[in-house]
């Protein structure tokens, strides 16, 4: 049997908040920095989404459909494409039309709802599923949670929402001696199949590709195919942010040339085939089941929730936000629900992370704020206004 290669790319853009001061509370309920959101989205579209989609489309057509990839595009990102760069949506539709691209389901707002509230989780998953159907014309059948967050409890909920396949991190502290290069089952729900990210090979592309201090630099497609051959097991899951291509790894690094040569080289070898997550779950035999009592994720060294809920600032903001679920339940105001959704984007909590010494640099690189404290103050000011609106609507 051939070894399967499963490529999945995450597409997400947060809805960044404007500077929102105490003096604005109760007076101005527009929370977003439209200018920054538009500018950043247009830049990333030019550097990454448009050229990379084009590259993948070409690779699929050259391979006569044998090259396959999967995407998950958050609802927040889909909204921004629609508003600022509809041509990106068109190019994703072209990819969908090839039949070689699978689109996954996630929480619409790239949120932590799976941890906070089963009803909110259900609401967002269904909202995302419907939105993907409406915009891209395909129905998602596999699920990836925000930042690959996963636990036994989440597995049960995801299966009940109708998904038979889920993606998560091959976290070392969960896997122990086991390899991520096999198909597994959820111990809490044995009908749910799990694909585990091979973080070593994924991060070779996503994080290390342009690092000249890395012993393996420069990474060529030939070298990488060699590593895929050496990898034991049935499947190699390469999961990464889509912005890797042209944003995190700039075009000058040669990342596009690398990705242009990789599909043909992999197929030429004869020992591999490309699969999408749902195909992998159907074709490959599971080797065992995994128990994950405490949530894992693909973030930082810890591969846990500490990037979003690691300090008291993040915990208080999170508790205050999800404390509103009950009051919102009886309100049918679409504007309130949209703001509630955007305020749930996990990015807002990520900006408040204070892990300065190890992964703080990564956090800082992606944050519009100078310090986590500023991120917290601004977020809480916005949330305070939002709470006033909810109370007024009761």
């Amino acid at each position: 049997m051939k070894k399967s290669i499963c490529l999945y790319f995450q597409v997400h853009q947060p809805t960044r908040l404007r500077q929102y001061r105490f003096f604005d509370i109760g007076k101005d309920s527009h929370y977003y920095d439209d200018f920054a959101n538009r500018t950043i989205l247009k830049r990333v579209a030019q550097n990454c989404y448009l050229p990379m989609n084009e590259l993948l489309l070409e690779a699929i057509s050259k391979s006569k459909g044998k090259f396959k990839v999967a995407f998950s595009i958050s609802g927040s990102a889909l909204e921004q494409f629609d508003r600022y760069a509809p041509e990106v949506l068109d190019s994703f539709r072209k990819l969908a039309a090839t039949g070689s691209v699978e689109f996954l389901c996630e929480t619409y707002y790239h949120s932590l709802a799976s941890l906070a509230s089963p009803s909110e989780f259900l609401h967002q998953v269904m909202k995302h599923k419907k939105h993907v159907e409406d915009t891209l014309g395909v129905t998602p059948t596999a699920f990836r949670n925000t930042e690959l967050i996963y636990s036994d409890d989440i597995a049960r909920q995801v299966y009940e929402l109708g998904f038979k396949t889920m993606l998560t991190e091959g976290a070392r502290h969960i896997m122990g001696w086991q390899s991520p290069n096999y198909l597994y089952l959820a111990e809490s729900q044995p009908k749910l199949k799990l694909l585990l990210r091979n973080y070593g090979l994924s991060d070779d592309i996503a994080f290390r590709f342009s690092d000249k201090g890395w012993g393996e630099w420069p990474l060529t497609a030939e070298k990488f195919v060699g590593w895929l051959k050496d990898a034991e097991g049935d499947i190699v899951n390469l999961f990464m942010d889509y912005e890797t291509f042209g944003e995190h790894q700039k075009a000058e690094s040669g990342i596009f040339d690398f990705m242009r040569s990789l599909p043909a080289l992999v197929l030429k070898d004869g020992g591999f085939d490309f699969v999408t997550p749902s195909q992998a779950a159907k074709n490959i035999k599971p080797v065992g089941s995994l128990s994950v009592p405490d949530p894992i994720s693909w973030a930082d060294e810890e591969r846990d929730l500490s990037a979003w809920l690691g300090n008291e600032l993040q915990q208080d903001a999170y508790n205050k936000l999800y404390g509103l679920t009950e009051k919102l339940a009886i309100l049918a105001d679409p504007e309130l629900w949209a703001d509630f959704g955007h305020l749930q984007e996990s990015d807002h909590l990520y900006y408040m992370c204070t892990k300065f010494f190890s992964d703080g640099e990564i956090h800082k690189r992606f944050s519009p704020y100078d310090t986590p404290y500023e991120a917290f103050i601004n977020y809480m000011n916005v949330l305070s206004d939002f709470i006033i609106r909810i109370n007024n609507a009761q």
């Binding site: 001061r21 105490f22 003096f23 604005d24 509370i25 109760g26 007076k27 300090n311 008291e312 600032l313 915990q315 208080d316 903001a317 508790n319 205050k320 310090t371 404290y373 917290f376 103050i377 809480m380 000011n381 949330l383 305070s384 206004d385 709470i387 006033i388």
Partner: protein, 428 residues
């Protein structure tokens, strides 16, 4: 009666409260028939000179006015140390000053006789050098104007060396005015011994030491060992003339309880937060605002988050000019829980806006404000009680607001400086 006065700043360009107090004092003295020559390191030319004559030390060349000045300069040179430890600056300003210095590649220069020195007049990284240069120029100015004054008056440690130089050269009596001491700025372990030394030299050399409160008078006597017989309290006042009442539209319906000032140990921010948490347990219709910045700000934010009250406790960051007035106008209760406050002018500003204030007994303002509510800074329960009362019982709030407004309007510099005039007269 004529006074040669050494200050560090004067409105409109001010970094702290010292400049505002100096303006009130010279105006009050003018009202009481006392003429002043006001020396400052770096005048901009747009200062209001209706009540005083301003002499800009940056315009004056150092002169070899007598053999003693050389000896004195040799003494003050001791204080010129190329160091960045400056206790008077808040961390933000300090950081900015250092960055600016690096960017400009500023070199510290020495001045010789016949040369001028361009002072920054700020509380920057080369403060110590400026202080000793100011003494050299101050001595020169005193000799140049020797026939134009009867008494020398120096405000805070920054100007004490200039005051001493003027006294040594002219033989005229010296008054030093203590607006703050090292003991109010931090605990004894973290004090800058150079500042402490200048403070003590100034107080010892002075013929009279004026303090802004009895609290500060006690510190001067007990901590600096100054003879009580020469230490006199003249409480601060505040000048509201030309102040326009601003009206603001409120965004929140809840009562707003405000802390406004540097977020440092001295100001007691953590007691405010503890009290806020207690009040919020009993009533929800209230919000707390901590306006300002400082080295304890991040710690304060964490404390608020840990207590789970961050949806009701807001931070504004550093507020400038009109924003400060706006913040007072948006407030229902003002809190100053200072651990040690020589005077503390902010509750007067609040009460002038009709905002009832709760202040700590450990502040000079507590000695003059009858209609402010007073608690010990550490007594968080009492503070919470008073906040709760002021947001819950309109009768109390209206009473405190009205009486407080009338009270602070009576605290005029004309009265305070009449006492200051008596101090001068006792020296002649």
């Amino acid at each position: 009666m004529r006074v040669l006065m050494f200050g560090w700043e004067f409105p409109p360009h001010i970094a702290g409260g010292l400049g505002t107090a100096c303006e009130g004092i010279v105006k009050g003295l003018a009202y009481n028939g006392v003429e002043t020559l006001f020396v400052m390191p770096n005048a901009s030319g747009d200062e209001d000179q209706s009540a005083t004559t301003i002499l800009n030390a940056s315009d004056v060349a150092v002169q070899n006015v007598s053999s003693t000045v050389e000896e004195f300069i040799n003494k003050v040179k001791f204080f010129y140390v190329d160091s960045n430890i400056v206790p008077y600056v808040d961390p933000d300003e300090y950081f900015e000053a250092i960055e600016k210095m690096k960017a400009n590649g500023l070199k510290q220069t020495t001045i010789g006789f016949g040369q001028k020195f361009k002072f920054s007049g700020k509380y920057g990284a080369n403060l110590m050098e400026e202080v000793s240069r100011y003494a050299q120029v101050g001595g020169t100015i005193a000799m140049q104007h020797i026939d134009e004054f009867d008494v020398i008056h120096a405000h805070d440690w920054l100007t004490y060396l200039a005051g001493i130089a003027a006294k040594e050269l002219t033989g005229k009596p010296l008054v030093v005015h203590v607006h703050a001491t090292s003991y109010d700025r931090g605990d004894e372990k973290h004090m800058d011994s150079r500042v402490l030394d200048i403070e003590k030299r100034g107080m010892l050399a002075a013929d009279r030491v004026v303090t802004v409160s009895d609290l500060t008078r006690g510190i001067v006597i007990n901590k600096y060992g100054i003879d009580p017989a020469k230490v006199v309290t003249v409480h601060n006042a505040v000048d509201f003339s030309g102040r326009e009442d601003i009206s603001v539209e409120r965004g929140v319906k809840d009562k707003v309880v405000t802390f406004l000032g540097r977020i440092t140990f001295q100001k007691g921010p953590e007691y405010f937060i503890d009290a806020a948490a207690k009040v919020l347990k009993r009533t929800k219709n209230v919000r707390f605002v901590m306006a300002g910045s400082g080295d304890m700000m991040n710690r304060a934010i964490r404390q608020v988050a840990r207590m789970g009250i961050s949806d009701r406790f807001h931070f504004t960051g550093f507020l400038r000019g009109a924003e400060v007035q706006k913040m007072f106008a948006l407030s229902d209760v003002y809190i100053m829980p200072s651990v040690s406050e020589p005077f503390g002018i902010s509750p007067l500003e609040a009460m002038r806006t009709g905002v009832p204030s709760i202040i700590s007994h450990q502040s000079g303002a507590a000695e003059v404000l009858k209609y402010a509510l007073k608690v010990d800074f550490w007594d968080v329960d009492a503070l919470a009680d008073d906040i709760y009362a002021l947001v819950s019982y309109p009768a109390l709030t209206e009473f405190a607001s009205k009486q407080g407004y009338d009270e602070v309007n009576e605290l005029k510099w004309n009265g305070a400086t009449a006492k200051l005039k008596k101090v001068y007269e006792s020296l002649l």
